[in-house]
Structures are given as C-alpha cells and as structure tokens.
C-alpha cells in the first residue's frame, strides 16, 4: 500500500470515529434490516407480477391470448332452428373493442365429410420412415367415421404445416387435429376398446381417405394429419380446400360463422369478460382460467408489493431520520473539522462513501435473499401453470436501483445540509 493510500485509510478511520461514534449504530442496523425486508417484498412481488404479465401477454405460449367465442345455444333457437351465428355487424362491433387485436371467423363445412383410415393412402405419397407403423395402425384399426371440417384464416394457426397451401393437385389434404382429440383417443377410447395408443411422433403418418359429399356429388381424396393444435378444439383444413369443397359438391356459400377466434392483448381484462357476458357470448373458459388467475395473482402481488413499498418508504424515512440524528449529534465535530481545514467536499465524499458502503451492503443482502426467494416463487408459479421463466426482469432491477438511488440522494441532501449548517463564518 502506498503512503498516500495508507494515509487515506487512516483518515477515513479517524473521521468515522469523530463523526459516527456508534451511539446510533443499533438503530441504523434495525432500520437497514427493515429496509432490506421491504425491498425484498417490493422486488419479489414486482418481479413475479412482471413474470405473470409476460406469461399472460399476447404472443406467449399460453394461448390465453386466443379465445374461441360462440353464442349460447338457446331452447328458443332450437325450436325455431335459428342457428346462433354472428352477423357482419356483430363481428365489426367486436373488432372495434379495445381488448381485441384481431378477429377470425370459423368456416364450417356445409358438406358431409367421412373418413376411412386406410394405410394404402399413405404409400404413394410419402416415402418417409414414418409410413410403415402408420400403415400398421391403419390396418389394425379399420376406421370409418363421419366428420366435420372447419377452417380459419392462416394467421390464427398456432402451427402451419409445410404443405398447408392446398391445391386440387396436392397429393393429400392436410388436416390439423386438436391435441385434445388425440388425448381423448389415447387415454379414453383406445384404452376402453383395447386399441393401440398413438404417440404424437407418429401422428404425422396417420392417413386415410376423405370423402366429401353434397347435393352436387361426391369427391374422395387422400388425407393426412399434418399437425396437432392446442388452440383449436376442432378439425381444421386449409381454407382453400374448404372453398374448393363448397364449389365442388355443395355449390353454395358457407353459412355465417357460428364461432369466432379472437386474439386479445389483455386476456385477463375484466372489461372483456363483461363484454362477452353482456352479449351472451361464451368463451372457452378453460383457456381463460390462467388469465383470471393472473388477475387474482396481480391483485395479491399488488397488495404484497404495496406493503413492501410502504415498508421501503418507512425504512428510508427511518434511515434518513436516524442519519440526521447522527449528523446532528456530530454537528459540533463537523464544525470543528471544517475549522481544521477539512473542506465540505472532503467531508461530503467521506460521508457519501460511507453511505455507499451501507447501500451496497443492503443491495448485496437483498440480492442474496432474492436468489433464494425468487426461485421458490417461480416454482410456485410453475405449479400453478405459469411458464414465467426464471429471469430477473429489467423492470425489477431498475426499481431496485431506483430505490437505492433515491435513498443515496436523500442521504446526500442530508449530508449537504449538515455541512452547510455547520460551516463557520457564514
């Protein structure tokens, strides 16, 4: 250590003895402890709230941002055979709502659809390794069923298979199946009927023949499951195939849509929920549960964060009051140091340095507590179905730095005041 550095160190030690002779040390420690406590409450709730906000925000994998909306089926409607479809105006009005980002219409087939699961269908069109087990499934499971098709605009799909742009020349009709359907088959139907379960990796090889029929004839085409969707509890085909089918066999326009898909920026918005219930629209509430829980969690975290903020405010106040008390106790000695030639900048630097050490100490302890508390919070959120990831949000960091910054600033003002007040000759 150079002579100067040793000198500075000695000077700091002496100044600490002169200025902070330890009478208020315990009080300061208590205030710092409550400060850390409040800061942890504030930052944890803030960070978790940011995580939940992100998890329930649009474009996140939770799909709470896509809602499927339909009208309630009423007895009156059943008697009059009026279908609960959405008119052009209703859709426009919905589209104009502030919580709506985009609205898409489900187009439902007006032709009959039947499917024969047939291994032969896959052979000429696909040479991949997936073929033979799929063929095996087809043979073991000769299946004939009546179906329905729906289509939605491509921009609403959660997966777009590579051969989704269907033309009449395409080797087969791609179909997107709700993952729920596969689960229903695997865990209920297949078990009950003693049929083999189908792993998701082999779903792409499920193939068969689709027959569509209407007043104007009948067409049979090879078809293949192109993917599984979490978003649609339905059987989705390309819009181009839907149009073609109507032209070929139904020769009439599809009906007004009876289901809509709504992309929303605020899945937990109460205004949105009120809007739907006042118009007697139903939404797939399962999807909304996360959003609703998110809202509750926001409120809970808001309360915790509020308590934390209050704690921080009181603790900062307490810290400053204790600091003022310390400096008031030291006032005659501050005056004496100034008389000896310790200039205001020297004293300010010294006291700020001390304050910095305290603040860094608080920051370090807070960070240490956060590394323990936050992962536990994340685990809890994960158990509740929130995929928030385990990151410290920049917002949390900024809030922490801001609180510490304001605390330092308040100390600085107190220091300046104490030094100016004790300046001799003024």
């Amino acid at each position: 250590m150079s002579r100067n550095a040793a000198n500075r160190k000695q000077r700091r030690r002496l100044l600490n003895r002169v200025l902070f002779s330890g009478r208020s040390r315990f009080q300061a420690l208590a205030a710092m402890t409550s400060f850390v406590f409040g800061l942890v409450l504030l930052l944890v709730s803030l960070n978790l709230a940011i995580g939940i906000y992100r998890a329930t925000r649009p474009d996140h994998g939770m799909h709470a941002d896509y809602l499927i909306v339909n009208k309630r089926v009423s007895i009156g409607g059943m008697l009059t055979s009026m279908r609960p479809t959405f008119s052009e105006r209703e859709i426009e009005r919905l589209r104009a709502q502030p919580f709506v980002v985009d609205v898409g219409e489900f187009t439902t087939s007006r032709f009959r659809v039947s499917l024969i699961a047939d291994p032969a269908a896959s052979r000429p069109t696909d040479a991949s390794d997936d073929v033979s087990p799929a063929a095996g499934i087809g043979m073991e499971m000769p299946l004939y069923t009546d179906l329905f098709f729906e289509s939605v605009p491509n921009r609403f799909l959660d997966i777009v298979p590579h051969n989704w742009d269907w033309t009449p020349e395409a080797p087969h009709v791609p179909i997107i199946l709700a993952r729920e359907f596969l689960n229903l088959y695997n865990f209920s139907f297949a078990l009950a009927q003693g049929l083999p379960q189908i792993p998701e990796s082999l779903v792409g090889a499920m193939a068969g023949w689709v027959t569509i029929s209407g007043p104007h004839g009948e067409r049979t085409l090879p078809a293949r499951v192109a993917g599984l969707s979490d978003r649609f509890p339905s059987i989705i085909v390309p819009a181009s195939f839907m149009r073609w089918g109507h032209d070929q066999v139904a020769r009439q326009r599809p009906e007004r849509p009876s289901r809509l898909i709504v992309k929303t920026g605020r899945p937990a918005d109460s205004v949105m929920l009120d809007y739907f219930s006042s118009h007697d629209y139903q939404i797939n509430s399962e999807r909304l549960r996360a959003g609703q829980f998110g809202r509750m969690a926001f409120v809970a975290l808001g309360v915790v964060g509020g308590v934390g903020t209050l704690f921080v405010l009181l603790a900062v106040l307490l810290l400053i009051l204790i600091y003022r008390l310390q400096l008031a106790e030291a006032a005659p000695r501050i005056g004496l140091l100034l008389q000896l030639g310790y200039s205001p900048p020297i004293l300010t630097r010294h006291m700020l340095r001390r304050c910095w050490i305290s603040v860094s100490f608080i920051a370090l302890i807070t960070a240490g507590v956060l590394t323990v508390v936050l992962p536990a919070g994340y685990r809890r959120l994960h158990d509740l179905g929130f995929d928030t990831g385990q990151t410290l949000a920049p917002g949390t960091l900024i809030a922490g730095v801001a609180v510490l910054g304001v605390t330092t600033l308040a100390h600085w003002i107190t220091i300046r005041h104490a030094i100016t007040a004790n300046n001799p000759g003024t």
């Binding site: 002169v18 100034l338 000896l340 030639g341 200039s343 205001p344 000759g425």
Partner: protein, 213 residues
Amino acid sequence: MQIELDSLMPKPLIEVFSWHSDIWRRNVCFESGKRYQLDAPSGNGKTSLINLLCGLRGDYEGDWRIDGRSAAGYDPIDWCALRRRRMAVMFQDLRLLPELTVDENIRLKTVLTETALTPAPASMLAALGLESLNGRTVGSLSWGERQRVALVRALSQPFDMLLLDEPFSHLDADNTGIACELIDQACRERGAGFIMTSLGYDYPLVTDQRLKL
C-alpha cells in the same frame, strides 16, 4: 502571504470601541515572513481578530485582504484550503476532540495535510513532555497539557502565517520556553510568520513588531 486590514472593525466591538488601537479601524499589513505580537487586555477583540483572520467569522465592517484579494470573496471551500495549506491556527479555547487520544488529535491534522513536517509532530510532543500521554484521551488531560497538544496540532501542518491566540496562558515557564522554541523553529523551516495575541506579557520569542489591539 500578505494580510492587509483596511479600517476593519468586528461588529460586536462597534458599540464598545473607545480605546486607542493600532489595529481596529486602521490600515495594517501583516507579512508572512514577520512575527507580530498583539497585546491587549481581555475584551478588546483578540479572539475576534484571530477568528476573523482564519475565516471563522464574517461579521465585520471595513475590509481586509489576503494577497490583495478581499476576504469577503472567499467561500467556505477557499477558507478550508487556506486553513489546510497556508494558515495554521491555535485557538484560545483549543478546540481539540476530547474523545480522541492525543495521537489521534494530531493525526487528524497530519492525515489531512499529507506533508512531511519539520519538526516532526512526535518530536514536538516529546519535547513538550507529552510522549507518555500519547494514548490518553484529550478529555482526561489537564488544561495545560491540552494547550500543548493544541500547539503541536497547529504546528503539524504547512503554513505561511501562524495565528496564536494566547498560546501560553496555562503553561509554566519551562514549557513556555520549549513552546517558543518550537514555534520559532517551525516558522523558520517554513519561512512563515506568526500573529500572536497576548495579555501583554513578554515571552522568550523574538518578534518583529508589537502592536496594541
């Protein structure tokens, strides 16, 4: 360093001022190479003058200048720098920190000025018989002992002008003699002068000018 007083008068003295003075309301010049003793009975403003000259009070009429620059133009930072580098003060009421030890009181000054000093503070303490008291808190010392500590602290820094406010009031003849020697030595080493107030006694210290306050 040149200190010029220009019709200076501390405000508290205005009402009572009625005696002949070589300082108050006169034009006087103190130069850093020279030694001044200012004699006056108590109540004539000795301490006021010392505090005024080191910037600890600003309540005066008239003007005074340091090296041609009006003292009114000095801000607290300037005064601190002046007291740290160019002007050493020994206060009449000593202004030591009673809870610190003798050694710490001296070091509080030396760690601030960061200058090698002659005579060295330790040797001055030894000369004044304070060596064995080094680790004692100043609060536990007699006034005479404290006065010697205050003198050593004042001499433990660089200066052009030393301000001494009745520095020997509680010292016996032997210690006064040693203190005078140390003052003389420190001033010679620095090429500095002093302004010393006293009640009018003679000390074994050569002065260039004695003035009546």
